[in-house]
Amino acid sequence: MLDCTPKEIIKRSGGMINPAKTCQPIGAMYAALGIHNCLPHSHGSQGCCAYHRSHLTRHFREPVMATSSSFTEGASVFGGGGNLKTAIKNVFSIYNPDVMAVHTTCLSETIGDDLPSIIKGAEVPEGKLVIHASTPSYQGSHITGFSNMVKGMVTYLAKATRDEKKEQVNIIPGFVNPGDMREIKRLAGELGVRLIMFPDTSGVLDSPMTGKFNMFPVGGAKVEDIRDSGNSKLTIALGYYASSDSAHLLERNCQVPAITLKTPIGIKATDDFLMTLRSKFVQEIPNQLEEERGQLVDVITDNHHHFYGKKVALFGDPDILTGLTEFILSLGMQPVHVLTGTPAGTLTGSGIFEKEIKEMLAAAGHEGRVKAAGDLFELHQWIKNEPVDLLMGNTYGKYIARAEDLPFVRVGFPILDRGVHSYLPIVGYRGAMRLVEMISDTLLDRQDRDAADEDLELVM
């Protein structure tokens, strides 16, 4: 299918070929699903809502519930206020969530619907909440949308209600799988730190089989906990792009100090996460975690000769890539191409993605191509010009992997063609151990496949 990708790189300015990102609302919808008893609502045409639900359903293989303002021509001419008011009435009378989380679309943004005013003027039942996030699809990416909805949670919900802060930490986990969120909670729990995680899609998008369909599964951050996040002693934002803005908003609004760390992928990022918790809350890292770290170092030692010098191309979401690049380097591999579709300059910082990755590569004595706001056509061209031994990224990488006959490890969002992944973490020491297994299995499977009869090794 990608036979036509030319090797010669010519400057392009007319849009994307095979995108490495998608649009804001799906990120907002995913974040909203991380509130307990919350129904996400898409303020726009029905298609957006249907696409986001389908895409999330394919990745998580779980029911994804969300409503739509079902815009028609009338709404797009006269404004969508009426539709949203009807929707608010219907949502609470039919589905009865605690929270309705509204996000906009490119359509409702462009016609200029004023959501705060519409929401203020709507009849919201006693004790129920409507929150919103502005998520125009023509800015940023799904990561921006996630970040914006989490900011909405902070704006509408978080309150500082006491002078003294509580001995508890807020953790904003970023756009990661429910399995990752569980693991981050477990790590903090092992330290004995009381934590408030929001959003938290564990229990919502990895809910167990019960034989019943729950519109609102048992998981998700509870509203009272998100409220209480204004009283916490510290907020740890995991991932600059998905989590940092909301942490700083919470700092401004409720005077909760914020620290942004890498998504804890690999040894160093996990160390940083745990040491930050230790420095603020506890004296000791428990033996359990020391043991896990030791096991991780042990498996890397056992397998490092498989990794040494291997060239890798990585693509996906920026927060995942910064952690992954650091980890890949620590395995002795060489990330030669790192590309994200998310633009780097649309949030508070500008261009930090490329800078941060390049610094990591330089510190390890490597050079590589790094780009934000790129697409997979470009990544494919890079690979044609400098071939790699391994490709890592979301499902869409399979086209490149096939065209270039590359071993391919699926990581990130979305993964549409494999199951189970969303239950199992890639964060923390155990997540890193899983990554070591995935990478080495993939490389060794390829070695077995390619080996001549006489070279086939039993022990590798």
Binding site: G15, I94, C106, T110, S141, T210, G211, F213
Partner: protein, 492 residues
């Protein structure tokens, strides 16, 4: 299922049943008041009482999509076209290679091209960027055909797609066709129509459309509304060839620029997916005097009936003889396997929630062939006539519903004790959570469900999910360790 039943598949309508009046109205708890008229129970209401083909209610969890989605699914299988989405990135991302439409040639259609509009483009207009994108893509891929899809935001900011496309077409000497598919201008059906309008412009001969009567190959048909999912169009092409009919071009499965151009030359249009293509068929009759037949190659009964219908149209005894021979041969070949599944599945109950009405009608018949009764049937975009047919062929007590939401699907599947749901992407995990088996009848599947081979695939797929050992854990114990704790689970 005995061998004598073969006669039933030999072009006889054996599903004509009298309507019995049983007054079972739909109870209204947990339903949105406005939704009540979109739900009925066979035997409870008169058949023309179902409200359909209307806008969804704001605030519902609808399973429906938008105009762009409708246009994209129809046009996407044109294999050698550049499908360029003019809008922000999302619309292109979500439709990147989601169809299981196979190609015998170009793979260009499987890429995702988008103008990726940014805030500046929204403010100052996206026409220049669109023109640049077309230039760059045409240069890179050397295609003779570009479809430019309009999205919501493009419809609002008012980019002149016509003008940009016209200029680009002239500049490159190729066809660049705008598809007016802004998401909010209707529902999925409006998108089908937008796609057909683009196709009609594509096939229009230079000098304008007029009836083409001379030089028509007599037994050449266009096959409308098959998207060659998993090679389905190839299966049907082969059947038609065996009875002496040539397929001129398929709309749009495995089609390409050159073949589509020849469409006006056919002597008959046969139409599988009526929802997407009846407008196209009607217009082609007006413009080119090509008559059309509605057919269905889903299931043994419909496949046989359709082959006979086509042979009957051409009025050649030899063709009819070959059709009947084919039907007999193919039926006997699949009979043993079908009987095996029938034995295992007899008495099970199915629920249907699919995109269009015609597919739902075929599915009811197909389920009967393997001993399964349908207890709930609904569609996203079914039309009044289709709902009347659904009403006619359903058993008493069957719940019939339009534009359903997940709560309704859950409620009626549970109430009716369905063992199986057939639906699309979003319905699958809903069914599984209820311990209900599922089969995919969506446009991204990669196994054929058409013709005789499709009928067997269908039965096999139903069997593999309904009789999976997993339900032992899922249903009986609700996934938990202690079965007793979940004793209120409905029996299946």
């Amino acid at each position: 299922m005995q061998l004598m039943k073969i006669s039933n598949w030999l072009c006889e309508d054996f599903f004509r049943r009298d309507v019995i009046n049983v007054s079972t109205a739909v109870p209204n708890d947990n339903l949105i008041m406005e939704r009540q008229s979109s739900i009925q129970v066979k035997g409870g209401q008169r058949k023309n009482q179902l409200k359909c083909d209307v806008e969804s209610i704001a605030g519902c969890v609808s399973q429906r999509a938008c105009v762009y989605c409708g246009a994209r699914v129809v046009l996407n299988p044109v294999t050698d076209a550049i499908h360029l989405v003019h809008g922000p990135i999302g619309c292109a991302s979500y439709t990147w290679d989601i169809r299981g439409s196979l190609s015998s040639g170009s793979e260009l259609y499987r890429n995702s091209f988008c103008t990726d509009l940014k805030e500046n483009d929204i403010i100052f207009g996206g026409e220049k960027k669109l023109a640049r994108a077309i230039d760059e893509l045409v240069e890179k891929y050397e295609s003779e055909l570009v479809f430019v899809y309009s999205t919501c935001v493009v419809g609002v900011i008012g980019d002149d797609l016509e003008a940009v496309c016209k200029t680009a077409a002239h500049k490159h000497g190729i066809q660049v066709l705008p598809v007016q598919s802004s998401g909010f201008i209707g529902n999925k059906s409006a998108g089908y129509r937008a796609a057909c309008d683009a196709l009609l412009r594509l096939i229009e001969p230079p000098g304008g459309a007029r009836p083409i009567n001379s030089r028509r190959p007599v037994k050449s048909v266009n096959y409308l509304g098959d998207f060659n999912l998993a090679g389905e169009a190839w299966i049907i092409k082969d059947y038609l060839k065996r009875i002496g009919v040539e397929v001129n071009v398929v709309f749009t499965g495995d089609s390409n620029y050159r073949d589509l151009k020849k469409a006006p030359e056919a002597s008959l249009n046969i139409m599988q997916c009526a929802g997407s293509m009846s407008y196209m068929a009607r217009r082609m009759e007006e413009l080119y005097s090509i008559p059309s037949l509605q057919i269905s190659f889903l299931g043994l009964e419909d496949t046989a009936a359709s082959l006979c219908k086509i042979a009957d149209f051409f009025g050649e005894p030899e063709m009819m003889r070959r059709a009947k021979e084919l039907i007999k041969e193919e039926t006997i070949a699949v009979q043993p396997e079908m009987e095996r599944y029938h034995e295992k599945l007899a008495g099970k109950k199915a629920a249907i929630y699919v995109g269009g009405g015609f597919k739902a009608i075929s599915l009811i018949k197909q389920f009967r062939e393997i001993g399964i009764n349908v207890v709930m049937v609904g569609t996203q975009t079914g039309q009044e006539e289709e709902y009347q047919t659904l009403h006619d062929i359903s058993d008493d007590g069957t719940v019939i519903l339009d534009d359903a939401n997940p709560s309704e699907l859950e409620r009626f599947m549970t109430e009716k004790g369905a063992h199986l749901l057939v639906g699309g992407v979003k319905e699958r995990p809903l069914a599984y959570k209820l311990g209900v088996a599922f089969i995919d009848h969506n446009h991204d599947r990669k196994h054929p469900l058409s013709g005789y081979v499709g009928a067997v695939n269908f039965a096999r797929e139903v069997y593999s999910t309904v009789c999976s050992p997993v339900w032992k854990y899922a249903r009986e114990t609700g996934g938990g360790l202690y079965a007793a704790e979940n004793s209120e689970l409905p029996e299946r």
